[in-house]
């Protein structure tokens, strides 16, 4: 399982990087943490002609906090995010989720931008961005643009980021009064979830301002507005959840080697119930 050959470039500026992506028209692949790309290349299911190493781009690093938001550079490693001084106070949902994401050695290299650009349906980070209502900052040959998380994850490994664009950063609005929930169903610690949910609520009693993002259930991380509406204004108790669960039918559940679509649907409900129960405990 040796990777096929490629040209390796390590540009020093974003402009250079974008120019390379434009020039090679889909044959150039950005290399962020490599924790997803390298396995694909070792399996020879990905064979880009050019690998563009983003690690020299200082514009993609750093975590900065303003009064209203936290801006995380795309090349921020999971590990760096977890070590950020304010992670527990300002981004408690991410702090809760991080220990569930793969394992130490992967988190030491994997990046936030890389996870969002790949948008693996079972990955946690896209769902966290959805729950948090983050905005993704993209840069391409035509300049910078911002895409809200709700519009970013479009399909199976498909995002709003074009082949000649790079994710530069994510902006997460601060919400000091919000409450958060997170639950994933995995057979083994660190596995991709068989179903998972990340929840943000502006208040708990009753539930309101809900953003409920599922991962590991469909072709991408997603919210179900009808579900949020059904739970909005309720206490989130068993009866309220039971009444709201039919809204999950809006999701096109995926079956795979581990579980069928039907079981996934069941699991989505279980993850939701458990996350809400933990939030309300």
């Amino acid at each position: 399982m040796k990777a096929p050959d490629f040209d390796y470039l390590r540009p020093g500026t974003i402009a250079e990087a974008i120019a390379i992506l434009s020039e090679h028209e889909g044959e150039a692949q950005p290399l962020a943490g490599g924790q997803s790309l390298m396995p694909m290349m070792n399996f020879r299911v990905a064979a880009p002609a050019v690998l563009v190493d983003l690690s020299a781009l200082s514009e993609l690093r750093g975590i900065t906090r303003t009064d209203t938001s936290v801006r995380i550079g795309a090349m921020t490693r999971y590990r760096e995010l977890g070590d950020w001084a304010n992670i527990c106070t300002d981004l408690p949902l991410i702090a809760t989720a991080l220990p569930h994401i793969a394992h130490d050695a992967i988190r030491n290299r994997g990046t936030i931008g890389g996870s969002l650009a790949l948008a693996d349906a079972a990955a946690e980070m896209p769902a966290l961005m959805l729950a948090l209502g983050a905005t993704i900052e993209l840069m391409g040959p035509n300049g910078t643009r911002h895409v809200h998380a709700d519009d970013f994850f479009q399909g199976f490994y498909d995002t709003a980021c074009e082949a000649d664009e790079l994710i530069v950063a994510v902006d997460i609005p601060l919400a000091p009064e919000a409450k958060f929930g997170f639950h994933e169903l995995v057979q083994r610690h660190g596995d991709y979830a068989m179903a998972g949910v990340a929840i943000k609520a502006t208040s708990l009693t009753p539930l309101s301002g809900l953003r409920i993002a599922f991962f590991g259930v469909s072709d991408r991380a997603l919210r179900v507005p009808a579900l949020e509406a059904a739970l909005d204004g309720t206490s989130g108790d068993e009866a309220a959840i039971a009444a709201a669960l039919p809204a999950l039918e809006a999701i096109e559940f995926e079956g795979d080697l581990k579980v069928s679509a039907k079981t996934r649907e069941h699991y989505a409900g279980v993850a939701l119930k458990r996350a809400l129960a933990e939030m309300l405990a």
């Binding site: 990777a3 057979q187 083994r188 068989m194 581990k258 069941h266 279980v270």
Partner: protein, 792 residues
């Protein structure tokens, strides 16, 4: 078999001590010697173009582009290689009726499983070889594959070997007593279940691989081998590649896990050896992880329809079952793909006093990966069937499963005897093991806890297994059937001039501690500190001839040979000492590296002083004294086909009825493997084996599409046990030495894997029993448990 009792009750005997392994040091410092660590001059690398189809006729193979690719040294198709390697057939005469077809290392006319090698590419680097494989143009005509074992014998199933007329490789029937009458008796309750066991595989962390080298000047072929049976490989290479056996050297150094996986004949490894001979330079082939999943032997694919009859008093009146197992398109060479089924027939119910036993086993060819022996061969199925039915029957008649076992296990004082299946048994302790198990697990407390938790809606279960394990096999296992597999092993012990002991043995090391126990036995029996013992294993050029390590035979057979050799050398050294010291030999002993006065322990002469006199200054010795400071002894089991061990195990689980997840809270194993040489090593074998068994019980399955494509070929899709989810495992020992040797040691390597699935199955069903459902399929995945619960 007799021997001096003084061997075992002397101080510093090492036998029975939890002595740490000397081998640990270099492994912990990064100085292991695994096959892929080897860099030989002019070494080149092999990669394989493999069949993408489960069944296909090879119409043509285009190699022009591959041959021209950068770094490529050679390309061989199956037809080209067939001129240099003879095919092999995996049959043995004692498995009457077993048939298989000649198999080439690289397929010639027809590819019969997805992953079968079709072309070997040799290049300067593995990466270049893989690049070139992508340039192979294979024109393949897909043929209908046989991938449903249950349909394999129906009229419209594709027949893999037309000459055979069907896909039946082998079948065997056992019929003892009068089972139909027994089942028809008035107070007999019958439980009947269909068990399904998922095909799974070993996933050794070090994948299969070899470095082969050929020296044309001496016509010698050397295989650096990651495997368990170097002498067996020596014969296979000799016979099929055409090199005189004495010119084939097989060297096994560090092996990164084997568990039976690396004891079989793999076409890619044979092809690499042939390439070395043809190219006259070292060829390295290391299977990558995807290749491992696709081509390491698979095992344990069974559908068993079984019934047990039990009387109202809890007496098991009989077991009756049909076992269907799907193997690969050929029976594996040389150990055959029928042994696992044969073991199921031999071992089901073997711990119990049964008068009626009927079993029918059928082995069918499939266009799936090859199948053969994997740790605990057949035991997981046999124990799960018998003990699964036992606990099912216990629930049916409302009796405690421990009580049912008490009423049915063979009594400890009833040996020697035979099982209903005809296995000769002796020196077993089923009753004692069960009582010890019940004690160490505090069974009553667990049952009380179970009731309390159920009231809270938490479903915990306790499941047991009483089991036997096949160890220390005689020639009856393979040799009598015509296999060139030794059942006799040897040990050589040599005292050198510095007073150190150099020992070598024909058994082999894969991390279980073979070298350590050989050292302990030699040091303890002969009388030197263990640091003075240097152990050599694994090299056919330097060790005695033998079988290697498999079927849990190392300690019992290799250990006995070492004991005998060490004892013989001690006698020889004392003979010399007696003359040198003018003392009766009976008044002397060897302790801590010196010849001592047997009664007082006073040192008379150090071993190195004695040895230097012998080696350098023979003039000081009487000319009629012929000192021999080296001894070799061999050992084989003669009294029994196999020396059985016994164990009693239990699992405590909690089933999350919303998710189907099973948490293993704790596991206990009471093991009687005869005399324990190193209790720490035995404990760790049991623990590792249990976790491997948990893998098969809860997680592991090779999943095939209807077209015969293996769907899970990565560590993300094939689930193995990792640390977070595994329980603590409490191990206890009973020692009933086997009378077949002085050492009295039986084997312990496979018991954990053989018994754990049964205990897990029973624990899960015990947890589910208040919900009036049960599961009889392994792995017991969350989805299967949810289906049993009616949740999906």
């Amino acid at each position: 078999m007799t021997g001096p009792a003084t061997i075992f009750d002397k101080p510093n005997t090492y036998i029975g001590q939890p002595t740490p392994r000397a081998d640990a040091a270099r492994l912990l410092q990064g100085r292991g010697r695994f096959v892929d660590d080897l860099q030989l001059p002019r070494m080149v690398h092999a990669a394989f173009f493999r069949s993408p189809h489960a069944h296909a006729r090879i119409l043509s193979i285009g190699t022009t582009a591959a041959r021209a690719a950068p770094g490529v040294v050679a390309v061989y198709t199956g037809a080209e290689l067939a001129e240099h390697v003879t095919p092999y057939v995996g049959v043995l005469t004692h498995l009457a009726g077993l048939r298989s077809a000649p198999q080439h290392p690289i397929a010639v006319d027809v590819a019969r499983w997805q992953g079968e090698p079709l072309v070997m590419v040799i290049a300067q680097t593995r990466a270049q070889a893989e690049d070139a494989c992508e340039l192979i143009e294979a024109d393949l005509e897909e043929l209908p594959p046989a991938v449903d074992a249950e349909a394999a014998l129906t009229a419209d199933a594709p027949v893999i070997h037309a000459d055979f007329g069907s896909n039946l490789a082998w079948e065997r029937k056992v019929d003892v007593g009068h089972i139909d009458n027994a089942f028809a008796a008035p107070d007999v309750t019958i439980v009947e279940r269909e068990f399904r066991f998922g095909r799974h595989t070993g996933v050794t962390l070090e994948s299969r691989g070899t470095v082969c080298d050929f020296d044309p000047s001496e016509q010698t072929l050397t295989m650096h081998y990651s495997g368990q049976a170097p002498h067996m490989m020596q014969v296979i290479l000799s016979r099929h590649i055409g090199v005189a056996e004495e010119n084939v050297r097989v060297i096994s150094n560090d092996v990164g896990g084997s568990f039976g996986i690396k004891i079989h004949t793999y076409g890619d490894e044979i092809a690499a050896a042939a390439a070395a001979k043809l190219l006259k330079r070292p060829v390295k082939f290391i299977a990558d992880r995807m290749e491992s999943f696709m081509t390491d032997i698979h095992a344990r694919d069974h559908v068993v329809k079984a019934r047990m009859g039990i009387s109202a008093e809890g007496s098991i009146v009989g077991i009756d079952f049909h076992d269907l197992t799907g193997v690969g398109p050929y029976s594996m060479y040389p150990r055959t793909s029928a042994i696992e089924c044969n073991q199921v027939l031999n071992l089901t119910g073997a711990p119990y006093a049964l008068e009626n036993y009927r079993a029918h086993g059928q082995v069918v060819f499939q266009n799936k990966n090859m199948m053969c022996q994997y740790r605990a061969v057949g035991h997981p199925i046999a124990m799960a069937v018998a003990d699964g039915l036992l606990e099912d029957a216990a629930r049916a008649i409302g009796m405690d499963p421990v009580e049912v076992r008490r009423r049915n296990l063979m009594r400890d004082d009833s040996y020697p005897r035979a099982s209903a299946s005809g296995m000769k048994l002796d020196d077993l302790s089923h009753q004692k093991a069960l009582e010890k198990l019940v004690e160490i697990m505090d069974y009553d407390a667990l049952r009380a806890d179970q009731i309390k938790m159920r009231e809270k809606g938490v479903y915990r279960g306790i499941g047991f297994v009483s089991m036997v394990e096949v160890t220390n096999p005689s020639p009856m296992f393979y040799g009598i059937g015509g296999a060139h597999i030794a059942s006799m092993d040897g040990a050589t012990v040599r005292l050198d001039a510095a007073g150190a002991l150099h020992v070598s043995s024909s058994i082999t090391e894969q991390g279980q501690g073979t070298n350590a126990i050989l050292g302990q036995i030699a040091a303890g029996v002969f009388g030197v500190p263990i640091e003075r013992v240097k152990v050599t294993t694994g090299d056919t050029a330097t060790v005695p001839y033998g079988g290697g390590t498999w079927a849990s035979r190392g300690a019992g057979i290799g250990g006995e040979a070492m004991l005998q050799a060490a004892h013989a050398l001690k006698t020889q050294v004392l003979d010399v000492a007696g003359v040198m010291l003018q003392s009766p030999v009976a008044a002397l002993d060897i302790r801590d590296g010196a010849v001592v006065d047997a009664e007082t322990g006073a040192e008379r002469i150090t071993l190195d002083a004695l040895a230097r006199t012998v080696y350098y200054r023979g003039n000081e010795l009487p000319s009629d004294l012929k000192p021999e400071l080296i001894a070799t002894r061999h050992y084989r089991v003669t009294d029994f086909p196999f020396v059985f061990t016994n164990g009693a195990m239990a699992a405590h689980v909690e089933v999350d009825t919303e998710t189907g997840f099973v948490k293993v809270l704790h596991f206990w194993a009471v093991e009687d493997c005869g005399r324990v040489i190193n209790p720490m090593l035995v404990d760790e074998q049991v623990r590792g084996g249990v976790v491997q068994g948990i893998g098969g019980a809860l997680y592991e399955e090779c999943l095939y599409s209807p077209e015969g494509q293996l769907l899970n070929t990565s560590m993300a899709d094939y689930i193995v046990p990792m640390a977070s989810e595994m329980p603590e495992i409490t191990v206890a020992h009973i020692e009933t030495p086997t009378k077949t040797s002085v050492l009295g040691a039986k084997g312990a390597g496979e018991a954990g894997t053989g018994g754990a699935p049964a205990a897990l199955l029973n624990a899960v069903n015990d947890a589910l029993s208040p919900l009036n459902t049960s599961i009889w399929q392994m792995p017991m995945t969350p989805e299967r448990i949810l289906k049993a619960l009616g949740k999906v």
